[in-house]
Amino acid sequence: MTIWMRCFTGLQEVQKEQSDKLQDMKQFLAFIKKEFVHVIRDRRTLLILFGMPIMQILIFGFALSNEIKNSKIIIVDKADDVASRELISKIDASKYFEVSNERISESEIEPAFQKGKLKIVMVIPAQFNLDLHHSGVSQIQLIADASDPNTANLLVNYVSAIVKDYQSEISVPGIIPYRILPETRMLYNPQLKSAHNFVPGVMALVLMLVCVMMTAITIVREKETGTMEVLLVSPLRPWLVMVAKAVPYLVLSWVNVTTILILSVTVLNLPFNGSLLLLFAESTLFIITCLTLGIFISIMTNSQQVAMLISLMGMLLPTLLFSGFMFPLENMPEVLQWISNIIPARWYYVIVKDIMIKGLGFASLYKETLALVVITLFFFIISIKTFKQRLA
């Protein structure tokens, strides 16, 4: 009899536990639904959230690009022979240069630069073809406007590359090759495409902004409007509130990652060499890191302004400075390099670059992944420890 009773009460307890879990789930889903409504009804913020990645990709991709297209080049062709004409037409054919029709003498080069616009001049000496075929060595002179050293450097490199290309074209195998320029090989980015560097950077930036700032603000807003008091005085488990708040931003971030990837492949003609699945998995990890950071900030603050300031100053600025996307980490003092290790975006930046452009697999990314996991766990544990069941 007593055994039966015990069995019965045991069964009841199990059922109660199950219904408790079911209730938790129901509350959780209702909460997530509410959060989605918040996000969707706030049209202006939504526009910013979806528009921001698109704008950033387009701005970085076109306006701020340090890539060179259709630069004006003047060629002082003193030879005017077969080889020089071939070389000129080759330069003209490349999308980087537009050979000007202007005919100027050597003495007119400097005034031409001073007029602006002109960035580079190539001087082909007389008897260019003759020298090349007889002695196997010929020279050209490149004069670039180095007031903008980066552009000048790029242009010189481009022309050199084209000249070298021409050289190997006219070389006949078996015969002593024509003069060979020093080899400059640029790994993964032969044309110095700047998009390769900024797309992973923009991804880190956008995710950081959406996840950290928005999550922090949305939780603090409940504190400000007094709804948090009601939520605390309810059977709802407080940590469920936090997780439910984060879910919509996880979804939003996936949409943003997808948008950025589609734009960079279609509009910016970026290669995608690695595994899409791996990239999404790593992105999700980084998103969770950011969400944890956002929750952490929301626990520490009580007003939306403070939450926003901390997110911007404490998260966004270090992301810009230390992720290696604007300023190369290798050139930084050791202390700053050390600091950069605790910036999640620094690791994510490397991960995205390695997957997208180098096409590497997980085996070569475990170190970066581990770093992200450690940072996430760290903030997760602190958040749980500091989470208050009461108001103060």
Partner: protein, 304 residues
């Protein structure tokens, strides 16, 4: 029979130890409307937060439905309803969405406890699809009350529910509380409006964190042991000045459009005062005895 027992609660804030509550004690019986009456900054909200398990008291103890507010806070949270003073719902959610959301997180449905909120909700139903932010102040408070009631709480905590609400809505609101009381719900309500005190079964007057008196509104009014006259003339502002000037044995203050004069019986000859006022060129003078209101009691207690 006690629903809420507060025993010597003290609370102070910050390094300067600003006192919010000083040795506060009272009990609230089952099924009564208990009013905490006091001006802004008297410590009402701190008291509510302590009782709703949101704040920890620095001294003293309290129980709600026999459960300790510190140790058994989880059980308390399951059975009370709370409407904070600045509670503004979710502005971007519609009336229905707000209510459904609060019903769900309290493990119930609108249908299940519809009878509880019916009287209030019928007024809101036409605006079901309107966003809470677009409702009038009175409607908002009604919706907030619905949200606090939807899970059939045994004790309802309402922190200044009528602040910022028009007089008509305030009246309706108190009628609703009367109906809820009939359902056996204990209601602890705070208000800065003295005229609402008479709607409560019992009240506690609170000022600067201390309880001045706890009793039924009538008993508190009857405990008023001074003479009280109300006065009016063509120039009430000047009247107040002149009455104050007349004698140091009386205490006069503006009360609505009248001046209230209180004094110990026998210390002032009211006819002499009237003559004095006429000499001072007041006309249309009204000077007659009046019954003390809660506010008069409160003012007297503050002076004592």
């Amino acid at each position: 029979m006690e629903s809420i027992v507060v025993n010597g609660i003290s609370k102070w804030y910050g390094k300067e130890k600003l006192v919010a509550l000083k040795n506060v004690s009272f009990t609230v019986n089952h099924g009564e409307i208990f009013g905490i009456i006091g001006p802004d900054g008297a410590g009402k909200t701190s008291l509510f937060r302590i009782l709703t398990t949101l704040l920890l008291a620095d001294e003293g103890s309290a129980t709600v439905e026999g459960k300790d507010v510190v140790k058994q806070y989880k059980q308390i949270r399951n059975e009370i309803g709370y409407m904070p003073g600045r509670f503004s719902l979710y502005q971007d959610l519609t009336v229905k969405e707000n209510l459904t959301f609060f019903a769900t997180i309290f493990n119930t449905t609108i249908k299940e406890n519809y009878h509880l909120i019916k009287d209030i909700y019928v007024q809101l139903e036409p605006f079901n699809d309107r966003r809470a932010g677009k409702l009038s102040g009175g409607m908002k408070q009604k919706l907030a009350l619905c949200c606090a009631l939807i899970h059939k709480p045994t004790v309802l905590f309402l922190d200044e529910p009528t602040t910022g609400v028009d007089p008509v809505s305030r009246k309706e609101f108190w009628e609703m509380l009367g109906k809820l009381k009939e359902q056996g719900i204990t209601i602890l309500v705070s208000t800065p409006y003295m005229d609402e005190a008479s709607k409560c079964d019992r009240i506690a007057l609170i000022q600067n964190g201390s309880i001045l008196a706890t009793d039924t509104p009538n008993a508190i009014r009857q405990s008023f042991d001074l003479m009280l006259y109300k006065a009016k003339s063509h120039n009430t502002a000047l009247l107040l000045k002149d009455i104050r000037h007349y004698s140091k044995n009386l205490y006069a203050y503006a009360f609505g459009e009248h001046v209230h004069i209180t004094f110990k019986a026998g210390e002032i000859d009211i006819e002499e005062l009237k003559m004095n006022l006429i000499e001072r060129k007041h006309h249309d003078i009204i000077l007659e005895p009046d019954d003390a209101t809660i506010e008069d009691c409160f003012i007297q207690m503050l002076r004592a």
